[in-house]
Amino acid sequence: MFLNTAAAAAVVSAGLRAAAPNAPAPAGAFIDTNVSLSHWAVRRSWVETPALLVGKLRGHGITSAWVGSFEGVLHSDIAGANERLATACARDGAGVLQPFGTINPTFPDWEDDLRRCHEVHRMRGLRLYPNYHGYTLDDARFRHLVELAARRGLLVQIALGIEDERSQNPGLTAAPVAAAPLADLLGGIRGARVMLLNAGSRVLGPVNPLLKRLVAAGVAFEIATLEGVAGIEVLLRANPAARLCFGSHTPYFYFESALLKLTESELTPAQRQALRSGHALAALAPA
């Protein structure tokens, strides 16, 4: 197991060097910031193996995908879920899948999960599910987590939801995470880097004051749940400084739904490049 893990870490590390901080985006770089492995509890996933996922992503030109594990949402053995994620990405990720480990700051000794993500698995980022893990973003433990991640140069991805609240199985409900506390929190944490996943219309409304506050605080976003006619174009017109990244929320969502959003919106070459890789690479860079 150790050998597997060590080999995994080496491969992951090699893969990440291609996206080194502050390096210019390689020609054709296309990063999907919101991908998951394993099965979500109430849906069948088409990703029976990581190789299937890699094939789909590569087929559409994705050069790097930031991958969390749905196991991290509901399993109590998060350290095991993170290890399996790292191993799968290293063994079957073909240099495309980059693991983002899960941390639950309500668990005992969660700080060691964070340490392992960084030191053992050589991950560049973490993924949080506050609504399923039972805390809010004004929780002191969350603040401490962001501080520790910042010291290690880790990007923190926060999933504000996984599925539409209206359609959740009554046995597995979770209200969307309220992002408002982030706007004030981040100003006080040096080096903090945060990206919101599945932010949806509660945050990604073009004239939403909360969006403007989060943009000003340096938060990054992705487009999986950005809707509306020419939604990217409209959002960027009203918020040109928004660090908007490509994200598909696949395999829970059809990957192609996010991809076509790039076609529906009229974007400048600079906006397109920033969406495809520029903002994502910047989110990984040291502050």
Binding site: R43, S167, P170, V229, Y254, F255, E256, S257, A258, E266
Partner: protein
Amino acid sequence: MNRRRFLQSSALLAAAGSTARPVAAATPAWPGEDLRKLGYWDIHAHVGTPGPTPAKRMEALVRAADRVGVERICICMSPPWQNEPTPEQFRRSNDDVLAILKEWSARAFGFVYLNPQHTRASLDELERCVADGPMIGIKLWVGLHCNAPQLDPIVRRAAELDALILQHTWIKQRGKGNLPGESTPMDLAELSARHPGVPMVCGHTGGGDWALGIRAIRTRPELHADLGGGDPVYGEVEMAVRELGASRVLYGSDVHGRSFASQLGRVLGADISDADKKLILRENLRRLLQPALKRKGIKA
């Protein structure tokens, strides 16, 4: 805009054949050429895009539609959105759609918005907009559960006029979160059972709980599943085709609340045959609308 010009303006075609956007060059031609050239028909759209007039709002919608290959758009309702509109309010909403049709009849089909709480006024509006006007379908939203008897005269007149009925349905928190008059696919199946042979469209097919919606309409061959309006969750298209057959499944976007893209992506990305995708993206709706189009002398 004629079909040739439409195809020329399609950004999907441009992306496949042009090098004007080098950053996109790494993306392979997608979808396949046959599907790109198809010209999609959208069963479910609202013209809520900004603009000083209804026609200008439609122009913004068409610009986005062109980029992703949507050729024909069934439009209904106009802002402000009113759950239980008075007759005066739904007439105003329909006036906007009529204004759009004057300028965009080559791209848009009109569906008249009715509120069955006001049955007599709804029947009068059906005469104004469909029998005597250019619209070819009916949109029913959340005014009244669609299994209510007040809908029967509307359905009977719709059948006489060959007007296709699009009924909104959703299942929120297993029905507990629905609005007071908001229908479920189960309600629509009840209505359909009273009107055998009358084709209707199950708007959203229950929304996020589409797996229940598909089951609910399975035994009513007149009911067609509108895929639009919910999150593009993997599996819906595959289940709809498996349980209903591809000929009963329709692409719908529910713009402007949704994007064309997210809803198209679920069909284009589904694990079904290209032949089934063609049915869903164009041919099924075209077939369903033919009687009404023929009545109006519209060739499409």
